[in-house]
Symmetry: C2
Subunit: 191 residues, 2 copies
DNA sequence: CAATGTCATTGACTTAAGTTAAGAAAGCAC
DNA sequence: GTGCTTTCTTAACTTAAGTCAATGACATTG
């Protein structure tokens, strides 16, 4: 089964015809490692469903990368700029070689015409993304750096291994040196 | 004009009949200062549009209040629990005496039947809430405590005056003592 | 109006993250 | 493989937030 259909199957029973229409209608786009998908000042014309690879979103503050989001296989990435139609404030960049399926406003309208039920699905998925964002937000807000790292190891252990430490540190809101020290502290406690 | 209709007018042109239906169909609920609106473990059956007053959302971590959200007049408050149907992880509590207009799943379904266009409005409003959340999230992530406070004074100066310092401190992710010191430091620079 | 409770500030001290700089380890290109 | 870049770690020092404790301001209540 196509990954997109598998993803949607949680929300809606699609006929074979409908599934076929979605898959053949969906555009695939690939990105090289370090390829920039969206820059500040640009308006996002697409959102992305990640089939393979890993993408980060980040701000450039005084020349420093501030990572605010990490996305991997099976996750939808909806740039704020796509939702609002305004210029993006941040970068979207492939950390690994990526294969994504594109969503666009035009495609979405066509889809809603063809399968009206998808409007409800969008509302539900939107609610879920919002809820997930909120949880991630609240974790960051309520925990100090060291505990954020521990939490991340529990909830997304895959990330800790596949992503450069300095990117992970930025995502945790600390400097690479601090992450290094945290890791060392944790090691010592285990021994 | 009713505040809810004024709010919706940004998104949809409602006939007088439709506006009438929404206003008469909407339930008003008031809360006393310090009244708890939602507790961890409970499932939210309502979302709220704030007509008057101020509401905070917070986690209780080791007996300590960790404020993650502050909402005032004209803002919609959608508990994660309302969106997901799962038990809440956090408290929702009135900081000031509040007057709110309730939204509920049943009401929403009725509304969608009556005014199908409202489904599109929900999608748009949902996108906007998500975008606003993201901006607030990213501000917190990318700025250190002192700058978070400065930013908050720029973007929501009202909050800094109407809310207790210890609540504000918690919202900024610091202790009241630290906020006190930050304020002192800022004063000294002005003089 | 005294007594109590709530909230904000201050000071002394601790802790952990930031900064700067240097060097080690790993990955990549030629 | 050699050399180069990128990434990670370590160390010494600085800075700012956390902690603990005391005090002061203010509002609320009996």
């Amino acid at each position: 089964m196509h990954p997109i259909i598998e993803y949607l199957s949680k929300y809606i029973k699609l006929s074979d015809d409908q599934a076929e229409a979605i898959v053949t209608g969906s555009k695939i786009q690939e990105f090289k490692k370090k390829e920039i998908i969206l820059r500040p000042g640009e308006v996002a014309r697409n959102c992305y469903f990640i089939l393979k690879g890993c993408i980060k979103t980040y701000y450039l503050v005084d020349g420093e990368e501030k990572v605010t989001g990490l996305f991997t296989e099976g996750e939808p990435l909806v740039p704020v700029s796509y939702a609002t139609g305004e210029k993006s404030d941040y970068f979207v960049e492939a950390i690994e070689p990526c294969i994504t399926s594109l969503g666009s406003n035009i495609k979405t309208d066509e889809l809603f015409d063809r399968i009206p039920e998808m409007k409800n699905v969008s509302l539900v998925i939107g609610g879920e993304i919002m809820a997930r964002n909120q949880v991630s937000y609240d974790t960051f807000r309520t925990l100090p750096p060291e505990q954020r790292y521990k939490k991340l190891r529990e909830t997304r252990p895959d990330l800790c291994n596949r992503i450069p430490q300095y990117t992970l540190a930025s995502y945790l809101g600390i400097k690479p040196e601090s992450l290094s020290r945290i890791r060392k502290r944790m090691q010592e406690k285990v021994v």
